[in-house]
Amino acid sequence: MSRAGDHIIEAKAISTGYGTQVIHEGLTFHVKRGEIFVIVGGSGCGKSTLLRHLCGLQPVLAGTIVIDGVPLDAEDDAVRAGMAQRMGVLFQSGALFGSLTLAENIELVLEEYTDLPPAARDAVARTKLAMVGLSGYENYLPSQISGGMKKRAGLARAMALDPPLLFFDEPSAGLDPVTSAELDHLIVQLNASLGTTMVVVTHELASIFTIAQRVIMLEKGVRGIVAEGTPRELQADTSRPSVHAFFNRERRAVRGAASSAWERCGHRSQ
């Protein structure tokens, strides 16, 4: 299989959407090997749709996505199956199989794609769970663990085959700030230790500043990318009001909420 130099993903003039509904047009960007690449934007701007296209769950309406030198729309079934093994996806809810234990969720993938004996599959599943901090939870069912643990277990399953590319759909969704920060820390740690390329969709500012090495921002009205760079660069960018507002919203929101609360109480904010 040919390997595409520094870029593990190349999106060339892609149009995304469902059927006749076009969400983005002419998107062109790349993801470098080994980086944490974050797709941001407000609700409804099509972040998750773009992710579904990137991980091959949905065909693009126009253009080409090349992953590791192979076009995603490759005709050959064997090539497509090979690509599926080279990427993992962590879905918003974790998407664990409810009737299987955490270890069995991971072993299901190993059983399908490797010739490891059962004892070795057990050992690999334990290793994966240990990597995400879930040692000792091998025999738990997904219904017996918390939301944050489900995400960790989903991540362990996504990493079952040690893929060089991982996709995350809103990893912070539904988590408290502490658990969310722990997951962000885990993402950074795994990236640093394993060198896995990570593509993350999120709108959480704290997550963006913790994990992102490079960011693209999508906007609903524009149907495309409005900004690209590091989080700090985009925060400092005053040329585009929507980008500036997005990356500085926490400070403004807190200030706004505080002053309106004081006003309701009949005081003036200082």
Binding site: F97, G98, S99, T101, A103, E104, E107, L110, T114, D115, L116, P117, A119, A120, D122, A123, V124, A125, R126, T127, K128, A130, M131, S135, G136, E138, N139, P142, S143, M159, L161, D162, Q189, L190, A192, S193, L194
Partner: protein, 374 residues
């Protein structure tokens, strides 16, 4: 970069040195696992040094192989240490507590349960199931009483929707099956009655069988397969996605909002379906009578009219009303019994159809015996 894993074992004063080189990844782990364990068995005494300095490619399967080797040494009370750990292996090991990993918790697989545990679990489940049936019947009865006292509390739009889905949409399949059953019954009856020159009695056979037995039974079985399963899947999916909890939290009674409209709709639709099924089934018999038995259409229907009475038709309608309540009630009950996950929805949907059909057959037998003595 090598894509194979080589394992070299050499004796050392304190025990044995195992040199691993090349790739220790998912692709090579299976063979490396076997060879490493064989090497440790062949040199069963003394300390073990695992030299991983030559390992160029390494992933979590490699971690598992090393952890397993270390666990095997620990079980045999042999010291075991990693040597010449390169940075790329070190960074991966730093993600986890390697020593804890080498003291594994056994992964349990569900299929190792004892026979008596299965029997116990089955009995426990059965008792729980019986209890939930009684609770369900009680709740449904209370909901019905409330609905009778407050008729406007029943959402008429929902009832009409389910009448359409369970009744109107089922007409084509019910009609087709009843027609074919009428044809089959007439042909079978004719083959026997012809011997006595009693062809005309085919009309009696088809008419009575359709109206009293086959009509109510087949209509109920088809509705159980279509709507009983659909109700179980619909309510089960709502339960998994916490929609039923949301209804309860908002102060709605799920029995009144979800179960009652469905049961009422099927109870109204099923007798109508039965009447259509009876007519079409008799027409199926008439086709055979006219085409193969030289009976005129008027004579056939005249004979059928003479063979049937109002009480026979009423018996069929009474049966179909009870079957309707059973099918819809069991479908809703199974939906409410869903615990969590897609597998549970599938299991309860299957159970809705199987137990629905079982209950229809049992009730039909009871009715047939009862009507014989009335």
């Amino acid at each position: 970069m090598s894509s194979e894993c080589s394992i070299a074992v050499e004796r050392a004063p304190e025990g044995v040195n195992v040199r691993l080189a090349g790739a220790l990844t998912l692709d090579t782990a299976s063979r490396a696992w076997r060879e490493l364990m064989a090497a440790l068995c062949a040199h069963a005494t003394g300390a073990v040094a695992l030299d991983v300095g030559g390992v160029e490619r390494f992933d979590s399967a490699g971690v598992a192989v090393l952890a397993e080797a270390r666990a095997a040494c620990a079980a045999a009370q042999r010291p075991c240490q990693l040597r010449n750990v390169p940075p790329h292996i070190g960074s991966m090991l730093s993600l986890l507590d390697f020593d804890a990993l080498a003291r594994p918790v056994p992964v349990e697989h569900h299929h190792r349960e004892h026979f008596f545990m299965h029997v116990g679990a089955w009995a426990y489940e059965l008792a729980g199931g019986v209890r939930s049936v009684f609770v369900f019947i009680g709740d449904a009865f209370l909901a019905l009483v409330y609905a009778l006292r407050h008729p406007r509390s029943v959402r008429a739009r929902d009832v009409l929707l389910y009448i359409e889905r369970a009744g109107v949409d089922a007409v084509p399949i019910v009609a087709m099956i009843q027609f074919l059953l009428g044809v089959t019954l007439a042909l079978l009856g004719a083959s026997q009655l012809r011997q006595f020159g009693a062809n005309i009695y085919v009309a009696n056979l088809v008419g009575i069988a359709m109206v009293q037995e086959i009509g109510p039974l087949m209509t109920a079985i088809l509705v159980a397969g279509r709507s009983g399963a659909a109700f179980a899947a619909e309510i089960g999916t709502m339960k998994v996605s916490e929609e039923i909890d949301a209804l309860t939290a908002m102060g709605f009674n799920p029995q009144r909002v979800l179960v009652l409209p469905k049961v009422l709709a099927v109870a109204l639709a099923m007798p109508c379906l039965l009447l259509i099924a009876n007519v079409v089934g008799i027409c199926g018999g008439a086709v055979i009578g006219v085409a193969f038995l030289n009976i005129s259409l008027a004579a056939y229907f005249n004979q059928t009219y003479g063979a049937l009475d109002v009480w026979m038709i009423a018996q069929g309608l009474i049966k179909s009303l009870v079957f309707a309540v059973l099918v819809a009630g069991i479908g809703c009950l199974r939906g409410l019994q869903v615990q969590s996950g897609a597998e549970s929805v599938g299991r309860q949907t299957t159970s809705a159809v199987v137990s629905g059909i079982f209950m229809i057959i049992v009730a039909n037998a009871i009715f047939t015996v009862m009507f014989q003595y009335l």
